[in-house]
Point group: C2
Chain length 415, copies 2
């Protein structure tokens, strides 16, 4: 059978992250691994009410097949959202409803990529984009992200040399590093691709989860005709519905709709109608405030615990929003070894390796703070701290030789 599978499947492993997540579900473990929202913050009662309202207003129509583009009312709502909240000039016709942002990436792969086409991604970056686009067998070119920016010099060289078809960015509270591109960096990047045949994917699932500071410029505003903006209800309202959306130029939407029809005809009309009723009858600003307040507290708690329990030789990012903190160990340590050590103590996180295209035995790792309690944060970070110290002691013979090397890929914490 094996020889029958397509070339694209060769060497693509099951998602390491999702495998770890399965472990988290099965056993009594503290997990900083997932990118899961806090289920206590799902507006459960409001969604039950919205469901009944949707049954009431849509009648039997709610159960029937529907348009590939998505529910008209929801598309209009999202076009308004883009205009009012992001200053992006899009209409209903620019919006396509997807099964979460992950499907948006798959559809973009279908519509844009031929085998061997060049695609620029972030490093460290979101594994899901590699998984989705790998199906169309492009050549990936990673560009480092660090502090408040993507490395524009490296990007410029790549653009001039490879003329990449796609550039993928996750500029707000990036997964996995938690960093946010500055406005200047965004303008710089937009300037670099403005005159080129490159299409930009602006993936923004966390954008609404800002704890502090001001919203940054959307690439969709800087480069409206060359950008597709991806949004999701998974982080702000409910992931289990699998609802996301894309805002793209109309001629791109036209192709995306064909790809959507081929992929699964359309996204569930039922869940679209429910989310529309939810959005219509609830104060989203208030809901977002509620979430960000809790996440900001948890983030703060985690940073305090890191300061308390991690050795001084460890650095970390301080995100302005989102769900992740990125931690960097001394160069001689491997996050995968730390993972093994922590796992023995019923504690998991994601070692940095899967966020890099080829590099292995990385000394960085990702911590999620949204899906754990403050008590779990205290216990968990303490355990990781202990495990780090164990690893350092184990290697103490060569300790004097160890030097800092931050890879230029993270923003440092204030210590």
């Amino acid at each position: 059978m094996t020889e029958m599978f397509s070339n694209r499947m060769a060497g693509i492993p099951r998602s390491f992250i999702r495998e770890i997540l399965k472990t988290a579900q099965e056993t009594d473990i503290i997990s900083f691994a997932g990118g899961l929202p806090d289920s206590n913050l799902f507006p459960a009662d409001e969604l039950v009410i919205a469901t009944n309202k949707a049954f009431e207003t849509s009648g039997r129509n709610i159960f029937q097949y529907a348009a590939s583009e998505g529910c008209e009312q929801l598309r209009s709502y999202l076009a308004d959202f883009c205009r009012n909240r992001k200053g992006v000039a899009v209409k209903k016709e620019n919006i396509l409803i997807t099964n979460g942002s992950q499907q948006a990436l798959d559809l973009l792969g279908k519509v844009f990529l031929n085998e061997g086409d060049d695609v620029v991604i972030e490093e460290p970056g979101y594994l899901g984009v590699i998984q989705a686009l790998s199906m169309y067998m492009p050549e990936f070119h990673p560009v480092p992200v660090s502090n408040e920016r993507m490395d524009a010099d490296r990007l410029k060289i790549l653009i001039n040399k490879r003329h990449p078809k796609l550039l993928y960015v996750n500029p707000n509270f990036q997964n996995p590093s938690g960093i946010t591109y500055s406005d200047n960096n965004r303008k710089e990047i937009a300037g670099l691709i403005n005159s080129k045949e490159t299409f930009l994917i602006e993936d923004d699932p966390y954008g609404e989860l800002r704890f502090r500071g001001n919203d940054k410029l959307s690439f969709k505003k800087l480069l409206p005709e060359r950008t597709v903006l991806l949004g999701s209800f998974s982080k702000s309202i409910v992931p289990g519905f699998r609802l996301g959306w894309m805002a793209a130029p109309e001629e791109v939407v036209e192709k995306l709709v064909i790809a959507k029809q081929a992929s699964d005809l359309h996204t569930s009309h039922f869940t679209q109608k429910i989310i529309y009723q939810y959005l219509k009858n609830n104060d989203m600003d208030k809901h977002i405030q509620k979430i960000t307040k809790v996440y900001a507290q948890k983030c703060q708690k985690m940073i305090e615990c890191i300061k308390k329990y991690f050795p001084m030789s460890v650095s970390y990012t301080i995100p302005e929003g989102g769900m992740f903190i990125w931690v960097q160990l001394p160069v001689s340590l491997k996050a995968i070894e730390l993972f093994e050590e922590a796992y023995k103590n019923n504690l998991i996180f994601i070692p940095g390796d899967p966020f890099y295209l080829k590099r292995k035995y990385i000394n960085t790792f990702r911590l999620n703070f949204t899906c754990v309690t403050e008590d779990e944060i205290e216990t968990g970070i303490r355990k990781i701290g202990k495990a780090i110290n164990n690893l350092i002691n184990f290697e103490k013979e060569d300790r004097d030789e160890r030097s800092f090397n931050f890879n230029g890929s993270v923003q440092f914490g204030d210590r």
Copy 2:
């Protein structure tokens, strides 16, 4: 922008069928075009109860991210269903939940197809399979289906000459022709591919909608290790949830899960939990009996009207189940011209052309009988009959020269 799109998108039009369906939604029209179930038969009250039950039993977990494979309880239910109803030996581990059968086709394309691989499809056949698999740029080879069979001689030649990677069949109440493969034909086909490196896709969305006669042998039973069986809740319960499933050998499921993760992480956990509650607490046999009784009546009504209003030179299939009747005009007529004529009278159906790979100006067309009332059937078939007569009269100068040519691709009605 156009030059940036991938090669796979070149020349793939938006689904003609879905474009026609949009017309149907927008205007006051009688539509025999869709493949839509009768919305009056959706178990709406029971689904509302199931939704509340799902909220009650799953709690907040119903809104969270979930496993790519699908909900465990639903997978177990489906494995039981395959064993008990189809005599197919599969376990929960063989089942993957998808966004309808259309996504199953997309995932199979991802997992099996390299550019240029050979794929055998039915002719006339389901447009959706061409759309889904086209994304992976195989070479399609159509094999005629007619009466109670796929043309095994033609298939044998193709298998020996091209060693196709995939063979796609829709053997029960086929879309579009309404025909059902006989047991002998199924055994013949299974025998042909048993010793070859061909994997069989048995697409069975309509299998439960049998009006008369006995269930036929499943290919999954005949060739368990070489077949993936595709099922759907869209025709039997509710299409708007977008829930389908596949039963495949475990090593294929493993690859399919990777493709599923890359495509959209997982299918909505929420709708899976609702459908599971529905299945658990309702008598499915009774529900299916209710649907098939109504569809059998509508089918009978349409056949009576065809006898009454269509000229003697028109032939048609008499399906044992499903949703479609396939009609063949005299060879000199083009179904697309009939469509234009009928459309002027607010009446639509699907001309045969999109069900063929390359042939144009086909003299066959598809009628759906499930999504219309008996009155609409009477009015609509009368209008089509009138339009056919108009076309025949328009061409009556050369009427004497017209001869019957049934293309060997349909089962004839009893007149």
